[in-house]
Amino acid sequence: MSRMLQLKLRIWRQGGPASRGSFLDVDAHDIPTDASFLEMLDIVNERLLEDGIEPVVFAHDCREGICGTCGLMINGRAHGPELGTATCQLHMRKFKDGDEIVIEPFRAAAFPVVRDLMVDRRAFDRIIEAGGYISAPTGTAPDANEILIPKDVADFSMDAAQCIGCGACVAACPNSAAQLFTAAKLGHLNVLPQGQPERWRRTEAMVETMEQYFGSCTNHGECHTACPKEISLDFIALLNRDYIKAKTKNRRLASQA
């Protein structure tokens, strides 16, 4: 059965990308433990609206932990206290009566604040556009069963492909690096037979685009802890290996040209 919580919230408010932000203190009364974290914010927003205060802007959509739209820093942790759980899947029963909860946007230079708790993560699209795909124009594909993929390889690829592109890894990283996100896409494509022809080109282009926007990885591992899909750090190791190989191979090819 649902119980009611009395909470003290400190919510980040910021008018726009160029404005200075500050915290709004809200006493959130009677929050049901069965509510999700975002439903708690819905309740708070309805009450703010009734009081004539503009609701807090936050991004969300599927509320099932799959679209990657949501993402908040909750008491300094990306997506909050529960491991392997996106903000929208976090429920209030994980909190105690009387708790103070600090709610902030994902912070990183590459993720400018749009408004309040909403940030702009389009830099991720730039990394994918740099090479995060297998070129297979519609109509050119052979019969699907002509490409044999051992089950363990398909499973390994799927482990990486699960990334939801939420950006928690970046928000959690002291350097705002995007290694885990980039490694997840490289891991997905680079281990598949279909991904081999573009492997080295893809790796170099994606890593270099990533470096234009994001900080450098110094192996803290905070990204993995924050990741709602618990993407393994092994994929970062694979990224590093492939990047070194890509540099030598691509250089060799260039010198032959």
Binding site: D125, G132, T140
Partner: protein
Amino acid sequence: MLDAKIPAGPIAEKWDNHKFSIKLVNPNNKRRFTVLVVGTGLAGASAAASMAELGYNVEAFTFHDSPRRAHSIAAQGGINAAKNYRNDGDSIFRLFYDTVKGGDYRSREANVYRLSQVSANIIDQCAAQGVPFAREYGGLLANRSFGGAQVSRTFYARGQTGQQLLLGAYQALAGQVAAGKVTVHNNCDVLDIVVKDGEACGLVIRDLMTGETRAYSGHAVVLATGGYSNVYYLSTNAMNCNVTAAWRAHRRGAAFANPCYTQIHPTCIPASDDFQSKLTLMSESLRNDGRIWVPRDAKDTRSPELVDEADRYYYLEEKYPAFGNLVPRDVASRNAKTVVDKGMGVGPSRNGVYLDFSDVIAADGEQVVREKYGNLFDMYERITGENPYRVPMRIYPATHYTMGGLWVDYNLMTTIPGLYAIGECNFSDHGANRLGASALMQGLADGYFVLPYTIGDYLAEKLGDPVVPTDDPAFTESVTAVEDRTRRWLTVKGSLTVDHYHRELGKIIWEYCGMTRNRAGLEKALNEIPVLREEFRANVKVLGSADTANQSLEKVNRVDDFMELAELKVRDALHREESCGGHFREEHQTEEGEAQRDDGNFAYVAAWQWQNPDKPQKLLAEPLEFEYVKLTQRSYK
């Protein structure tokens, strides 16, 4: 009369003949055309990428911050294809037959046949893109049977098939962005379609980050904007799914077909309270092993594990011995409603039924169950705080998919020349009920393999024509209308929130036009909806400004369109004096309580033509002919 432009000839040859006979745009000329694609879900992203590969210039629009966030990402179960990899007798004809029958004989045979034909190409295409489908140890693709199908034709990627297919299409799109053939406009809410001299020539957006209104012009416009289950407020759809782009096209002249056909999915987590914002789907595959029951005695409030076998009412197993818990979605849903309406529901709000795994856990062990359903059980526990390995899940039906949508002809063109509709936002292939794992198939069929061909037939005639400039009066009128409408909400200064009105609308439509409908209820809804709409327009409270990100302002336009759609939906349900698939009129049922069709009077598509705000839509009918599938009464006894 509507002309569906169905090609002549035997059904198996129609599509090939059509591809041969339609006009083509030669490869060098394709770059002289600009196509605007609204939506980057499975349908939109696949269409945009494929058209760009052919050489067209594509501008893609999404209200999301990235194309990858479209609601297609949430599909769990899988995608059908007539590959017959399992050697179990599947074929193009069988998939076609199952889809027409499953749709309760209210879809167009020619379209469904084409869908079955291209289904196999979709799997090839996606595998080539690197979609990590489930595999057997030998490296071949794995399949499962899904949604009561008698063959194993469903391909899947764990419980995240929609995610992986969408990422495949999104990545193909990203490749075309890098190639300079596609421009993606993120965070752009399309609020009007521009029509000049009867043809679609552009659209008007509001930038959700800055509030700016802008117009874009193209030679053709494609809507791939998904479904409108959120008219019910609570549904399994993502929070931002809406009908706005399709509705605005409807108001500009595109006929809207079969709005009363809605699919209610039987296995969702019941609402726990008023604050609930959405309902979560639990995969249908759970019905393979879970047993559905309620206590026989409505007053029996014992905890489920204490209820003796004899006191449990396994109502599906008792009523449908052959299919048991695996009856089709609509049948399972209606039966759950019946027991809950009788006061036999379980859980704190008595609004659910049990889905019990104790037998399979006892027989196969917890580990086997964990391997099959671990993710789903974890998700259930996260949401409800209850452990389904120990206590039965509680489930209840929820709105899930809308079979109705913009009317399109065989070329996927709406009744506005130059305006196309693909994916869930059209009405075309599922009739009155969609089979599991068929929406992903249809979205990708439309986007990868149908539209890229058929659009050429329209564009070929326009070779050399410039796009209509955005300072043309057709555009400026539309931009002004959008700006006025947006700003007007800020001047209402009413007292109740957008969500309040959306919830109220949801209650009416769920009560009277949900799982079952009857004349008295529909007439009541027809009185209540316009009253609610007027109150909403006069009393909604939207704060802030139109010149920044403003989520209430985003929502208010959508709810306003839902209010109009809801009325048409009810009118459609009232006019259709029969039961079929997802439309169950209590007056029309067999003695066994099954849907009773009236093929003599209602074997047609009901497409509604907008007239003006004060005059209800006009009914245009497209008669349906069944040459290859014999009309029969469905029976699952």
